[in-house]
């Protein structure tokens, strides 16, 4: 077998081994590459910045599962830090049955982090006053539409079994009129439902945080203004973390920064293999072996 045939037909297991090594490497070798903030991430950040404190709430639909936790969880935490630091009430909910566990983890871990830094009682986060988690509901589209009339009609009780009407925050949040924006964090294209149904009918603003593989599907909606901001994959999460840190809403970066380094290494590896494959293909074709 000639050298060019060899590099054009590398065993996939070799690719797998190299990929594993390069994913793990950045966990031990810390490198920080300055991020350039993409306009769609900046747009979401600016929107949250424009919401007056203690006014309308931000609704976060936690619709990602453990599989996409590395990409979506840092987005959720950075967004929550931003909202809590600016005294913006947060209403959480889920339509993916696997999401509640992660939603609770994100909400509680951010709450504990802020509480550990709070010097006054007013600075700490209180469940039912600063945020509420409604839990999971079947019949996604019907539920989204019905919340336009009354959130309590769809979620009479929260995730922990409390009556919605008994929570102080929910006295001021009745339906989409009291929601400044809905941010959907997902690995599937759940945001399209929010655009098609509640946005068309009730005019609710929609933004999203999606896995990198899903995000390009929402570029057309970003351009038309139907999506008011977008975090795209690990990069979007790292950018939002950076914005939150730079504006003094957090003390340190989250986990997306390290993830970005692993991702960059994989991109480089994939590019290297594509080049090798093409060099092999080019020389094989010159030798008259490869089909044109």
């Amino acid at each position: 077998m000639k050298w060019y045939d060899r590099i054009a037909t590398i065993d996939r297991r070799i690719i797998y081994v190299l990929l594993t090594v390069l994913v793990i490497l950045p966990f031990f070798v810390k490198v920080t590459i300055p991020q350039k903030i993409m306009p769609q991430t900046q747009k979401l950040f600016d929107f949250i910045e424009s919401i007056p404190p203690n006014d309308r709430a931000v609704m976060i639909s936690f619709d990602y599962s453990p599989q996409t936790q590395p990409e979506c969880h840092p987005m959720a935490k950075a967004l929550l830090k931003h909202c809590f630091a600016r005294d913006i009430p947060v209403i959480g909910l889920s339509f993916d049955p696997e999401a509640p566990g992660l939603a609770v983890d994100a909400l509680v871990s951010v709450e504990r982090e802020i509480d550990s830094l709070a010097t006054r009682k007013e600075d700490s986060i209180v469940y039912g006053v600063d945020y509420v988690y409604l839990g999971w509901k079947s019949g996604r589209i019907a539920a989204q539409l019905d919340m336009g009339e009354a959130i309590a009609g769809v979620f009479p009780r929260d995730y922990y079994g409390n009556l919605i009407d008994s929570l102080p925050l929910m006295q001021n949040v009745k339906n989409y009129k009291d929601i400044a924006i809905v941010v959907i964090l997902a690995a599937a294209d759940y945001p399209i439902d929010w655009i098609r149904y509640p946005q068309t009918r009730y005019g609710v603003k929609v933004a999203a945080g999606l896995t990198a593989v899903m995000a390009p599907q929402y570029y057309p909606f970003l351009q038309t203004g139907q999506v008011s901001g977008l975090m795209s994959g690990m990069k979007g999460a790292a950018e939002y973390e950076k914005l939150v840190l730079e504006h003094g809403y957090a003390c340190a970066l989250g986990t997306a920064e390290t993830g970005m380094n692993s991702q960059s290494m994989i991109h480089l590896l994939i590019m290297l293999f594509i080049i090798l494959g093409n060099v092999g293909y080019f020389f094989a074709r010159r030798a008259g072996k490869a089909p044109r």
Binding site: Q67, K177, A188, V213, P216
Partner: protein, 388 residues
């Protein structure tokens, strides 16, 4: 000062006004007047196209808008003697929606400029009443499109019923369905049909159910085995009925087995893991991936390719198409998925509906082209079309 005046003059002569910040930076600092002017014209009216209980207010800015704290909105019902404050806005705002009114009761409004807690009132508005509407005028464009498309559909369906031969181009992925089912029968192995990961409210899932009906009929004819795993409980119940009905329609209800259609899990990647398990353990001869797919598409299609199965995919998920194209033998792209049922059944009525689809698309393309062309010459037609 002369330079400043000249610049202000030039600013007025420019075809495009200078940005407000530039003008502000050129203006000398205005002294704050002792009592700010109130907003001039306050108009109140029922908010259109709603369920009632809302009155909209508009006013013109106070001449001292830059130096006030904001605006207060006061309301008086017909029987009230005094005005009550119902809300406030920031300065620079000229609209307000009063959402707590009673339908059929006339209300008058006053808008006041606020400075240091003091209010400087406008003249009262004319009385306004809210009431619910029976038709949403903002959606006339949608209604017209639905009616036009339904008429187009009806026209081609009627035309097809008269026996006119309608041409449909060859769709390689669908032409291979017969071969795929035959191959599985010859090999004595089952056929795996994954109806996507979308719930029944995705049109792609509904289209997939239509194709499943046709595929199941062929399977009933060929006497092959079928596996239909489902992610959602409702798609499970629907796909079970579809397969059962297909076997009944082919006159062999006894060949249908309950185990053909299975519910797996709602977990996205748990479902993908289960499909990979089925492919590696039961080694289906043919895999159909038809419906809505997300990031798991390549995991399933690549595993299927490794087991040596003949694979036909079909999805309207634009981002998953490249993955299916690289790992499957045939891929139905975008709207081909919606043409599949007509293609497989060859029913004239369904073929007629495809024709309507094509003409509808042509009409939209012409409209889009027209709007793009006019906007190229600086004419914006979107407000005329009431595009919201």
């Amino acid at each position: 000062m002369r330079v400043l005046t000249l610049l202000m003059f030039l600013a007025h002569c420019l075809p495009v006004p200078l940005s407000p910040c530039l003008i502000v930076s050129l203006s000398p600092r205005l002294p704050v007047s002792p009592s700010p002017g109130a907003p001039a014209v306050v108009s109140a009216f029922d908010r259109p196209n709603d369920a009632g209980s809302v009155i909209q207010l508009r006013w013109s800015l106070s001449p001292d808008d830059a130096s006030i704290d904001g605006y207060a909105v006061l309301r008086r019902a017909r029987d009230d003697t005094a005005y009550t404050k119902i809300g406030s806005t920031m300065r620079g705002v000229t609209v307000f929606e009063d959402e707590g009114v009673q339908d059929g009761v006339p209300y008058e409004y006053i808008v006041a400029s606020l400075r240091d807690g003091a209010m400087f009132h406008s003249e009262p508005s004319a009385p306004a009443m809210s009431y619910p509407q029976f038709f949403h005028k903002g959606r006339i464009n949608v209604l017209l499109c639905i009616v036009a498309f339904t008429l187009l559909l009806a026209y081609f369906v009627v035309k097809a019923r008269t026996g006119k031969d309608l041409f449909i181009r060859k769709i390689a992925g669908l032409a291979a369905v017969e071969e795929a089912v035959g191959r599985a029968t010859e090999m004595g192995k089952p056929i795996l049909y994954v109806p996507g990961l979308g719930d029944i409210d995705w049109t792609a899932t509904i289209a997939s159910m239509n194709i499943l009906g046709e595929v199941a009929r062929k399977i009933a004819r060929y006497d092959s085995a079928l596996i239909v795993p489902n992610r959602w409980s409702v798609t499970y119940t629907v796909s079970k009925e579809v397969v059962k009905e297909a076997f009944v329609a082919e006159g062999s209800p006894d060949k249908f087995k309950e185990e053909y259609v299975r519910y797996v899990t709602e977990a996205q990647f748990g479902f993908a893991a289960a499909i990979n398990g089925i492919m590696t353990r039961e080694k289906p001869a043919t895999n159909f991936f038809i419906g809505r797919f997300w990031a798991e598409s390549l995991i399933m299609a690549e595993t299927g390719a490794q087991t040596g199965a003949f694979q036909i995919a079909g999805t309207d998920s634009v981002l998953q198409l490249p993955f299916f194209v690289s790992a499957c033998d045939y891929t139905l792209m975008g709207e081909e998925l919606y043409a599949a049922s007509a293609y497989l059944s060859r029913e004239p009525v369904l073929l007629g509906s495809l024709k309507a689809q094509d003409y509808g698309k042509l009409a939209v393309l012409l409209v889009l082209f027209g709007i793009s062309l006019t906007s190229f010459f600086g004419v914006n037609l979107l407000p005329v079309l009431r595009v919201q």
